[in-house]
């Protein structure tokens, strides 16, 4: 049945609400004015210039990028073997561990952030790199495991068994045959983990300090205290990174599907 005009109108209202804030932020980031007024009094790139010359925010950007790269690497290094074991092997406690690996996604980030603060502060690990890396890796790991379990599941067992028949050890077969076939999935998982860490706000709020902060936290604090278009330019920078990563994942996952069809 073709959608009637009532449905079209209602859906358009829904889309308007969904997309309005992001679109407004995009426009305001190019504002020439001093406040978050929409429509802006004029257009300029002065707030992007202000953003890139803001030392604190640039340090936070560098911190976030380094952190996200570390977290993506760790999540993959820990997540790929775990996912392989869950997808391919039988061992006691497999189901328990598989469930536990996605458990962090069930708890609100606020509670996770508080729990991590209580655990890391007495160990003097709050507001340190190891503390942030551990916290973000824990949140990113379920995504890596979930994507890689699916990716390994999609690799036909025959291929691996053929390698065994040809004399490869199971370890060598997994490393040289199964893993390369699942590689697009691994890249997608890495990109997603990067994004999870790069955009993480709430847990980081509990774990940052004056010496070490991340970009989402700085943006949160900026939005809390000031209302000039700099924060819109900052938001756009974060959106741009997210968009690049998502397009990458889309391409890679599309690539995986194409491989599956062959």
């Amino acid at each position: 049945m073709r959608p009637g005009w009532v449905l079209r109108l209602a859906a358009m209202a829904g889309y308007a609400l969904l997309l309005a804030p992001a679109l407004v932020v995009a426009v305001i980031s190019f504002s020439a004015g001093d406040f978050l007024t929409f429509p802006p009094p004029g257009l300029s790139t002065r707030w992007y210039a202000a953003l890139f010359s803001n030392g604190e925010l640039m340090t936070a950007l560098r911190n976030s990028a380094v952190l996200a790269l570390l977290v993506a690497s760790i999540a993959l290094l820990a997540g790929i073997p775990a996912a392989y074991a869950i997808a391919r092997l039988r061992f006691p406690g497999r189901d328990t561990i598989a469930t536990l690996l996605v458990a962090p996604l069930l708890l609100p980030s606020l509670v996770l952030g508080l729990a991590l603060l209580l655990a890391l502060q007495p160990l003097k690990l709050a507001a340190t790199w190891p503390g942030l890396v551990l916290a973000h890796s824990m949140v990113a790991l379920p995504f890596a495991v979930r994507i890689m379990t699916t990716a390994f599941g999609a690799v036909p067992r025959d291929v691996e068994e053929a390698a065994w028949t040809l004399g490869a050890t199971p370890f060598r077969a997994a490393l040289r045959v199964t893993l390369p076939i699942a590689a697009p999935g691994a890249l997608a998982a890495g990109a997603l983990c990067f994004l999870v860490s790069f955009d993480e706000t709430v847990i980081s709020l509990f774990l940052v300090g004056p010496r070490l902060s991340t970009l989402p936290v700085e943006m949160f604090r900026y939005a809390e205290t000031r209302t000039d278009p700099l924060v819109a330019a900052l938001a756009m920078a974060l959106i741009a990174v997210a968009l690049v990563v998502v397009l990458l994942v889309e391409r890679l996952v599309g690539f995986t599907r194409a491989m599956g069809r062959e």
């Binding site: 049945m1 804030p21 992001a22 929409f38 061992f91 561990i97 996770l112 709430v202 209302t227």
Partner: protein
Amino acid sequence: MGARAGLLLILPAAAILAAGFVYPVLLLARISLNRTTDIGAMEEAVTLETFEQLVGDAFTWDLAWNTATLAAGSALAATALALPVALLIRAAPPRWRGLLSLMAVAPLLVSGTARVVGWLAILGDNGVVNATLMGLGLTDDPVRMINNWTGVRIGLTESLMPYACLVLIAGLGRLDPRLEEAAATLGATRSRTFLRVTLPLAAPALLAAFLLTFVLGVSAFVTPRLMGGGRVFVIATEIFDLALESVNWPAAAALAMLLLGALAVALVLRAVLVREAAR
């Protein structure tokens, strides 16, 4: 590769999980049983004192009521607004479906803080809405829509909508469109078909979407904090303040445990209701 290899492969992931999740959450539970002394220091103990203080404090109940009504209202609005979006996607030609679905969940890629900034510009005293209202002469003074509950409700509804869309797109996709076509063939009007055929069929998906967004809304922090401008208090903002401003760890931990308990009840309820509705 046998059991030993499996355990060995799991080890790194298990170590991260143990150090970054299991230990902190257990410690959270443990600290909720500690005591706060009169000078505000934490004292090792195994007592329910902190819980008793929280439950005996009317402010906690205000917070719980605020949180529950905010989450319920926003979840209801998000689900209702996501329904036409999901119905449109379902009825759209296949080549449009991908793009329309992507647009519906695109806000998830934009951080919550960024979207709040957008809302501040739309709903603020100098924002689009107030400029329009004053331009039309409907009001002389700007209507306050940020730094209060109105702003938080609008912002939270929008931030929950993509999740409602995800659940509804998946749920409605499974419904057979021929049932509605049959109703139309038999002479039912569009509104009647919607009310008597589509809506009952969509009920389980609507319920699932509402319950998911409700659970997410109960623990939302960024939107209430930023849209509320520090003037809106819910359980999430209180936990944050207790932990980082009052530095009262037992109270923060106990309130977090109460929140987890409430969420667990909601999740069990959801499982039961979804199973009932699916029957």
